[in-house]
Amino acid sequence: MGRKLLLDKAHIENIRLYDVYRREGGYRSVEKALKTMTPDAVTDEMKKSGLRGRGGAGFPTGMKWSFLAKPEGVPRYLVVNADESEPGTFKDRYLMEFIPHLLIEGMITSSFALGSKRSYIYIRGEYAWIVDILEQAIQEAKNNGWLGKNILGTGYDLEIYVQRGAGAYICGEETALLESLEGKRGNPRIKPPFPAVKGLWDCPTVVNNVETIAAVVPIINEGGEEYAKIGVGKSTGTKLISACGNIKKQGVYEIDMTISVEEFIYSDEYCGGIANGRKLKACIPGGSSVPVLPANLLLTTAKGEKRMMTYESLADGGFATGSMMGSGGFIVLDDTQCVVKHTYTLARFYRHESCGQCSPCREGTGWMEKILLNIENGKGKMSDIDLLWDIQRKIEGNTICPLGDAAAWPVAAAIRHFRDEFEWHITNPEDAQRRNFGLAHYADPIHVPTTV
């Protein structure tokens, strides 16, 4: 049984309300930070904890905070990125829906560390009901003196505002989010300057994921070093994984990053195995934009080691044989799923969500979608596979923001690992309309080169 830090009290009835939350030991971290610590000490504690950003990129949070420019007389801002739009990711929604005070508490502590007097939650428009939950939590916190002027008599002022997005995936990119928050069209900005220097209204800004900010609470309560003891290597602490797809028990799980992928999928504590007695074919371990892996590479790395649920192990082998932890959207595909159709669905999503600012992403995503639709409909040509590869190669790394990469990686990985299935779709167009390629050899043990 892994240790839980974020969701350990999620099952308690009415934990959503302030009284219950406070009774269960809530807002201790705020008391500790504001009364006994300096802002720099909180940041140091974050550095010691080794917490990595939970939004997808995995950048160390303590480091990000220490990069924040602190010029005199200029306000600084903390913005919480609750624009959780990655297909397959729904962990922040769970957190905000069930224990909203955890986020508010984390925000107060983080804002204190960063010196932000006004902090924002940018939430995706589709989470309309969560806005009400958060507003209520903020009001409760305010009534009890955790927000407003002179918090706990320390002279620190803080207000938290909730801003709804209008429903665009691109606004989850931090600079697009800031543009949108300023009331403009959500186009990503060109970096540098980074938000840590010029962010919201040209002031230094830190943008963090909901889960990252929530993790500040246990880190301050228990101490950074204590937190760093959980997990393996540079993957410290616990991580929320939102598991979905063809598994028996879909849902949000908190793991302490010491278990293997195999255990996560098959143990009854977590996903409970593949549903309907089918077999595992492929899996996207970190949300739709990370590379998809076939069953054999998912469970063991190319070196023949067991793959663990950590940042390092999931990325082992680079993109050739590995993937990424990403945002923790764990999508499992069984042997009845078609990788071509699946890739087409993702390509359609990215085409729809591209902001259209820079040309490779604007034109390339649409092109890839059309070619994939042709292949899926049995009208593809063999040369289309190489063409897709060439298109994704020309999008990746050449765009303003990571959406271009996110659109290119799934297509690249699907072709890299499932080329046989694409070719089968093209050579057997009629067959492909009636049945699936099936599991094929994707779960076969991989050949491990022995080193002498």
């Binding site: 665009a168 691109i170 069209r185 060109i190 085409r351 729809h352 969500e353 591209s354 902001c355 259209g356 600012q357 820079c358 040309s359 490779p360 604007r362 034109e363 390339g364 995503t365 649409g366 092109w367 059309k370 063409l387 190669r393 020309k394 999008i395 790394g397 050449n398 765009t399 303003i400």
Partner: protein, 391 residues
């Protein structure tokens, strides 16, 4: 009242330009394709390369030096940074947009000497042309179109795109400017013009992704005194002059510099004439296809000068315009031809370029001075060289 508002506007335009004019002492050394140049701190890689000129300069479709905040979108100006600076000589992992990346002391940039850049640029050009209608034969921009130049220099002969190209409904945005969204490459330049030159922006980008379009909301007409400059900054034929529409091909018209006393703008323009008829008035362009600056102030022109003064009598003629970059226009009149700097020997670092075949070795045609012959050249003229050849 009106006059005051215009003056205020003028002031704003000029103040904006003042910032461009300000130049710190040049002391950053940057090497672009083996050519080292000293530039002021805060200069972008693209502007440093423009100081060198020639082939070394990356193409730019969306960047416009006179419009603040433009650039970074089209990705044609991507370059490789092989060394970040003297202090931190690590290379940058990704290709960077040279228009929005500032130089550092000791930076080493690779443009035409980098295969990665060439490959990525070919990709970007392909992407830009993917949904472009290529209706150059009926497009007023043909001959002075940046996309045409770009395609000519970097494009492939065919396309790999096998689907229907994207089209848009035609939209009327006012009496002077024709919007043809199908041709647009979404460089955002015209929105910057509206933001920075006119009183109020009434057009912008609607929707997103490959279905994004430039439009006015609910077809509101663009009617503003400096709106015509959108036509000048548009790199393609998406925004064209309604008063010039289908009147003539640009290369049949004769560009003439002229000026008039205008209380709204600088009044310095180029007249595009056919005979004595003034077909079109535009701002004067520099060698990068941008509006020319006078003492660091961009020479934007007002709509009165652009659309209403179509008689030779309205203008003081200065003389023929020196056309340099958009060479198709200068076909037939080569007055003041400006040749860009020949950078190849420096880029190659003294090495000779690899020749597949020296055509002069094979044919010896150039040994005959054709213009010195009394009549037309015939096969007999080359008999001597033929017998000396490999026969």
């Amino acid at each position: 009242m009106f006059r005051r508002r215009y003056n205020k506007k003028k002031e704003r335009i000029f103040n904006m330009a003042e910032e461009i004019k300000k130049e710190a002492p040049a002391n950053f050394k940057v090497t672009i394709d083996n050519i080292t140049i000293e530039v002021a701190p805060g200069t972008s890689i693209l502007n440093a390369a423009r100081k060198i000129g020639g082939d070394v300069t990356p193409p730019a479709m969306c960047y416009y030096s006179k419009l603040q905040g433009s650039g970074g979108k089209c990705r044609t100006c991507l370059v490789e940074v092989a060394a970040g600076s003297t202090a931190d000589p690590r290379p940058m992992p990704k290709l960077v947009a040279s228009c929005r990346t500032n130089v550092m002391d000791g930076m080493i940039v690779k443009n035409i000497t980098s295969e990665r850049v060439q490959d990525a640029r070919a990709g970007v050009v392909e992407f830009l042309l993917l949904n472009h209608p290529l209706d150059c034969p009926i497009c007023d921009q043909a001959g002075e179109c940046h996309l045409q130049d770009l395609g000519y220099e970097h494009g492939k002969e065919g396309t790999r795109y096998e689907f229907k190209r994207r089209t848009f409904e035609k939209e009327d945005i006012g009496p002077y400017i024709q919007l043809h969204m199908t041709r647009c490459i979404l460089c955002y330049r015209c929105t910057y013009v509206a933001d920075q030159l006119t009183d109020n922006r009434v057009h912008g980008i609607l929707d997103r992704g490959d279905h994004a379009e430039i439009s006015t909301y609910i077809s509101k007409a663009i009617d503003n005194d400096f709106s015509g400059n959108m036509i000048d900054v548009c790199p393609v034929g998406a925004l064209t002059d309604k008063t010039f529409r289908f009147k003539n091909r640009v290369w049949f018209t004769k560009p003439v510099n002229a000026h008039r006393d205008c209380d709204k703008c600088c009044g310095k323009v180029t007249l595009w004439q056919r005979g004595d008829e003034v077909l079109r008035v535009t701002a004067r362009k520099d060698e990068w296809g941008e509006v020319q600056s006078y003492d660091g102030k961009p020479g934007w022109i007002c709509n009165t000068c652009r659309f209403d003064k179509k008689h030779v009598n309205d203008w003081m003629i200065e003389g023929p315009t020196k056309i340099n970059r958009h060479s198709v226009i200068s076909q037939g009149h080569y007055v003041g031809l400006h040749k860009p700097k020949e950078t190849m020997p420096e880029v190659m670092g003294g090495r000779a370029p690899k020749l597949l075949m020296d055509i002069h070795d094979v044919s010896d045609v150039n040994s005959v001075d054709i213009s010195a012959l009394p009549g037309p050249a015939t096969s007999k003229t080359f008999e001597k060289t033929n017998s000396n050849g490999k026969q």
